[in-house]
Amino acid sequence: MKKQLQITVNGELRQALVEPYYSLLDTLRDELHLTGTKKGCDEGDCGACTVLLNGKPVCSCLVLAHSAHDGEVTTIEGLANGLELHPVQQAFVEHGGLQCGYCTPGLILSTVGFLESGEEPTEENIKHALGGNLCRCTGYSKVVEAVVAAVDSADQGTE
């Protein structure tokens, strides 16, 4: 039996009528038509579906939609400010942190979550933070370079 669900997505209060077994991922893509969040394995292994739930990166394919009721979700659609990319998006573009792009929304949300977590942004910590995001194109080096650059640009912004 479908039930009403209310979540704040990218700052906007949204409602959907979904079955109890619906995942947050299916709700975002099929009900709210936010298809920037990708479905890869649908088993929590690949990280393509990563969004921020109440500020923390999660695999949206593993979240029961109704568990996110009254929560706040940030998807890839919520990062850019108009035509101005989010600094992490900009860093991925400038440093070649993507090729086919399928894993990119997840990698970028994991990065944003990591930068907001207060963990020291060492290269080692970056790699651990992105360990749950699979990418079959880049070999990860360019991704890590992009995140390091995003850290540097954030540092310059605060000086």
Binding site: L62, S110, H128
Partner: protein, 296 residues
């Protein structure tokens, strides 16, 4: 909580509890688990807290996430093997959802947090229709996916006593990948010394993914207690741990391979635990480098 218990009583075997849903949703979608009733305890009050006192030790609410465990400063300082087990668990996005209670109640032989909780002597507070009862974690599992939980009961809290002074602990997870994989073998060891250089006053070793449930290596522990610890003794303990398990062949490794790895990791975790007991804990980052040992 009372409502959750009465629902569990009402629906009995046809109900399944869900919290972080990381294991549940995948199996539900695949039709592996098909309960008539799903009881979501995510918002049950009071189960999401983690507290520490030097007298009572660590109290971990069943809904505390694995990520919280990993990042908790006292867990990192006093229960390093537990922080390591949490850090080796899936990826950040899963750790932010998965709960400690869920990892225990799924009762997987390879559950990452379980060996570390076992060596720290964890106890489970089980809430039920007749109030609470306590069960030692090493008595909690009855088979793969099977626990002592009865109809109407749920795991509410895990209590972990404060480790004695001069205690070191370590967890090593051997798996095909460095992240996002299940343990081929997981070993946690804890060593307490009588004084910094003294003989071993306590030794506990727990093994994952080598039996129908996570298990302690009692015979290996026994030869260490009361002894001055050295390489020969560690090797003897490692051999006992290796010879005491009867693992299965599966996609992650053969039984023979697993037995050998049990020996190797028992020795390495004991060495590391002794080192920390004698000289103090390593930093989280240093220890993490030694925790996930991915290799074929």
């Amino acid at each position: 909580m009372r409502q959750a218990i009465s629902m569990l009583q009402r629906y009995g075997e046809n109900a399944r509890i869900v919290a972080g849903s990381t294991d549940f949703l995948v199996r539900w979608r695949a039709g592996v688990w098909n309960p008539d009733h799903v009881i979501n305890i995510q918002r049950v009050a009071g189960l999401g807290r983690i507290t520490y006192s030097s007298r009572n030790g660590l109290r971990i609410g069943a809904l505390v996430t694995v990520r919280t465990l990993e990042q908790h400063p006292i867990v990192r300082r006093r229960y390093p093997a537990l922080a390591m087990a949490a850090a080796s668990f899936a990826g950040v996005q899963v750790r932010n959802l998965a709960t400690v209670g869920g990892n225990i109640c799924n009762a997987s032989p390879s559950g990452d947090t379980i060996p570390a909780l076992l060596v720290f002597g964890a106890e489970c507070r089980i809430a039920g229709p007749d109030g609470d009862r306590w069960v030692a974690l090493d008595q909690f599992f009855t088979g793969p996916g099977q626990t002592v939980l009865r109809n109407g009961e749920l795991l509410a809290e895990i209590r972990v006593p404060p480790p004695p002074p001069n205690t070191g602990s370590h967890y090593i997870k051997h798996s095909p990948r460095g992240a996002m994989d299940i343990a081929t073998v997981g070993v946690a060891s804890l060593v307490s010394l009588d004084g910094r250089r003294g003989p071993c006053s306590e030794a506990l070793i727990a093994l994952a993914a080598v039996a129908p449930t996570p298990v302690r290596a009692y015979s290996a522990e026994d030869i260490l207690r009361g002894q001055g610890l050295n390489q020969e003794l560690f090797q003897a303990a490692a051999d006992l741990a290796r010879d005491g398990v009867k693992p299965i062949d599966d996609i992650r490794g053969s039984a023979e391979h697993r037995k050998e790895i049990v020996g190797v990791l028992t020795r390495r975790t004991l060495e590391q635990a002794l080192n920390s007991a004698a000289t103090g804990p390593m930093t989280f980052e240093e220890q993490r480098r030694l925790t996930v040992q991915a290799a074929f």
